[in-house]
Amino acid sequence: MTDIQTPQSAKWWKKTDVKRVFLLWIILTAVIGYVGSEVQARSMGAPASEVMASVISLIRIFTWAAAPVAALVAALAITALMEKRHYGDNPPPDALHQVHTSPRVNGLWMAASTVLCLFALIVGLIVLQKDSASLLDAKAMNVNVTGQQWVWNFDYVESNGVRSADLYLPVNKPVVFHVSSKDVKHSFWVVQMGIKIDANPGYVTETAVTPNKIGVFDVRCAELCGLLHAYMQTKVHVVSQADYETWLKSTAVTQGAIS
């Protein structure tokens, strides 16, 4: 196995396999980062709230932050696989120039993973802080959300007992959802707005969002809740303030509270 001998005197970064790893690393980082973030962001569709927009950018940031790590492992693995392969029923000779350990590599690896970990934490905590603050918005409208096997219903707190099975929201108005359940656990997920909170029997949980796009979006139950869990879904209609008022008035007539 003399063919794999490289002169001991050569600097480590001048070895061909190291150069190959470096090249592959650059290419793969770009490919993994771009493909990973684009495919995921496109699958998530257009955001209908700032919360969702920040989820999408978080996933983009994390993908780009993880890309160099994944690319490095891939580059090393591919290079190792390209260099010396041995087929047959008997083992190849022992590898030459093996190291048991390398304090420099170990230290660098741990430092890099710690930095990346802290980076992910800080980015996440900033967004979390922003999302939590929106719960305290005093100007927000309130909607009580009730999950019951296997239908959602919505109670518009400031609107004299108007209730509906599909959600209507005025655009650009902060809304706080107070979520509860009549029976088992459900999970209230407004998909395109990127918010989700469980509906627990006997407790009220809260989540908040400001829809910023007029359109029709999906509410899905995200916690297995029994027989018709798959069908525990409804729509959110985000409309202009004027349309919302109109809808409230017409609904108050036909679907108001039971006196």
Binding site: K84, D94, A95
Partner: protein
């Protein structure tokens, strides 16, 4: 063996001279006694159990009856297999003599010892292997039913409650299979030889841990025909309280399985701490041993909590207590906490031995020393330590404790550091190695690929705002399949091929192992990439039917799943063919340096004539230093 027929089967153990009962007990008497006890208790309970009081809020008479019958099954089975003979004899003050112990160890019994309460760790290892394969087969069939039903957008091929039951059954059966898939077969068969011991520290507990699993399986099968586990494997309350009688099968199953895990955990931990060969210091102990011990030691605190959570669930159902029922003062959040205090360590119980097994194989198939042994140990230890502090990341959006989201996010993301260490060790070992192109070696590459994807998506999920979008979606399902199957099962399949020659005396058919490997890995990545996409697009988990917009992704997943099925069946074929008529294996076909390859095939009853003395670490391939 049949001379003592006049003795009553219910009076175990008298004088050892009169051919004791232990020779007549086997799986047949166990199944018979278990079934008879269950039926008798069932009928008696039907007859004598008082009706529900009119005031009873819950409909619990049937739950009481079915739980009682399952307990009777369990006790009957364990008595029938002979688990109580030892303790009973000890109580009488007539402990087992040498001949009886040798009988227990399965001396000169041929195939029959696999159907008895045999204490030899090699028998237990083979028993575990066969049972694991059977469980995987059942779980795989269920997976195919799920994927077939989800092949197109319109539900209704399987009706919803059956579908939910299949999802729950697939989940729990696969979780159990993956928990035992490495520590069961290989932890039992290989580990004691690898550390240079003659057997486990507590051979009878070893047999007990295996037969407890066998006793646990019928309840979960029966549950499918009595309403099913319609709650998913997590069996969240109060949904579990609302579900049909099948839930009682789940409760019994988990309780018995948790017992088995606790027993096995205590046994394996003790064995490794106390029984390593002379000279095998912790620095010379193979990394696979670290993986196995870490796995079972992690299970030791985790599974009693699971046990307890199910006892409370059973009480809620059968006695109308209200641990988890809000209207009675309980809380579903209590269940979630208990469940995930078990549930998160549990995923590392599955993962760590798989990675450790591949770390064990990496030096063998690259002919290079393991890179940074200390980092590997630290990685395993770090994951173990952190994994008990992260459970509530499964509850970010449950509303239970919004203020704890940030702390749990921190502990969860910190796990990426020790996990990264495992990557470093594997990649460092492969780097500039002489790669011996075998299925176990390729499994290392597959693990790096799959676990990288599983790990990175795990970071997205650990982030609270991103989790608020992703939680409960197919994205999560794809993520944990990448870790448990893409990483965990890949390690287990590599272990199977790697240790097959020692366990069966024959080589695993090489061609079949390659075909199976590629079919499984390609199918796997196709299947779960498709699942990531539908998850991101907003498809919830555990749905029987979905909107047409998810059709394409689901079809991709189903096609991938069928490819996995083909690969798994090829692998099963390989196991059967190779075991029956494979090439006879030499003592050390891989030229490995660990101790299990120093004993002949088949491995003699007590492994070593003379216990080995260890003088170095098992990874001194190639030049020592450069």
């Amino acid at each position: 063996m049949t001379t003592m027929m006049e003795r009553s089967a219910s009076a175990p153990g008298h004088s050892a001279k009169r051919k004791p009962l232990i020779e007549r007990l086997n799986i047949v008497t166990a199944l018979a006694l278990g079934t008879v006890s269950a039926v008798v208790v069932w009928q008696l309970a039907l007859k004598f159990m008082p009706d529900n009081a009119d005031t009873a809020f819950f409909f619990n008479r049937e739950d009481k009856i079915s739980l009682l019958s399952l307990i009777a099954w369990f006790i009957g089975f364990m008595v029938g297999i002979g688990a109580l003979i030892g303790p009973f004899r000890w109580l009488l003050g007539k402990d087992l003599n040498h001949d009886e112990n040798m009988f227990y160890a399965g001396k000169d019994q041929g195939i029959k010892r696999y159907f008895r309460y045999t204490t030899d760790h090699k028998v237990v290892g083979i028993q575990y292997l066969v049972v694991t394969i059977i469980i995987f087969f059942v779980g795989g069939v269920l997976a195919m039913l799920i994927r077939t039903n989800l092949g197109h957008a319109q539900g209704g091929w399987i009706q919803p409650q059956t579908y939910n039951a299949i999802v729950g059954w697939h989940g729990i059966i696969m979780i159990v299979a993956t928990i035992i898939m490495i520590t069961g077969p290989f932890g039992n068969f290989v580990m004691p030889i690898m550390i240079g011991a003659r057997d486990m520290a507590f051979p009878r507990l070893n047999a007990l841990s295996f037969w407890l699993i066998v006793a646990a399986i019928p309840p979960v099968f029966i549950s499918f025909f009595t309403g099913g586990i319609t709650t998913g494997w997590s069996a969240y309350n109060p949904l579990a309280s609302q579900a049909g009688l099948g839930m009682n099968g789940y409760i019994a199953f988990i309780c018995i399985f948790a017992l088995s895990t606790m027993v096995a955990g205590a046994n394996i931990t003790t064995t490794v701490i106390r029984m390593r060969a002379k000279g095998m210091t912790w620095n010379r102990t193979p990394i696979f041993i670290y993986g196995v011990v870490a796995s079972v030691a992690l299970a030791l605190p985790a599974f009693p909590v699971f046990f307890l959570s199910q006892i409370m669930s059973g009480l809620d159902r059968a006695f109308a207590t209200s641990f988890y029922n809000t209207t009675g003062g309980g809380s579903g959040w209590l269940y979630e906490n208990l469940f995930w205090i078990m549930g998160h360590p549990e995923v590392y119980v599955i993962l760590i031995p798989a990675v450790a097994a591949l770390m064990e194989m990496a030096p063998v198939f690259t002919r290079a020393p393991l890179f940074s042994f200390n980092i590997a140990v630290m990685g395993i230890g770090g994951i173990c330590g952190l994994s008990i502090l992260v459970w509530a990341h499964h509850m970010y959006i449950s509303g239970w404790a919004p203020l704890l989201s940030a702390p749990f996010m921190i502990t969860t993301e910190l796990i990426s550091i020790p996990t990264g260490m495992l990557f470093l060790v594997l990649i460092g070992t492969i780097w500039r190695g002489n790669l011996w192109m075998t299925m176990p070696l390729m499994s290392i590459f597959a693990l790096l690929w799959n676990f990288m994807i599983g790990g990175i998506t795990g970071i997205y999920l650990s982030d609270v705002p991103a989790d608020a979008f992703l939680h409960g979606s197919m994205y999560v399902t794809a993520h944990f399949h990448y870790t448990l199957m893409g990483a965990g099962l890949t390690g287990a399949l590599a272990s199977l091929v790697f240790w097959f020659p020692k366990m069966t005396g024959r080589m695993f058919d090489k061609k079949l192992s390659w075909v199976a490997f590629w079919l499984v890995q390609i199918g796997f990545n196709v299947a779960f990439m498709g699942m990531f996409l539908v998850g991101l697009a907003g498809q919830p988990r555990r749905v029987e039917s979905y909107a047409a917009m998810f059709s394409r992704g689901n079809l991709i997943t189903t096609i991938g799943a069928y490819t996995i099925m083909a690969g798994m069946l090829v692998l099963l074929h390989g196991v059967i063919i190779s075991w029956r008529s494979g090439i006879k294996a030499p003592m050390n076909p891989w030229q490995s340096k660990t101790l299990e390859w120093t004993v002949p095939n088949p491995v003699p009853l007590e492994n070593f004539d003379v216990l080995p003395i260890v003088t170095g670490d098992p990874y001194h391939y190639g030049k020592a230093q450069s």
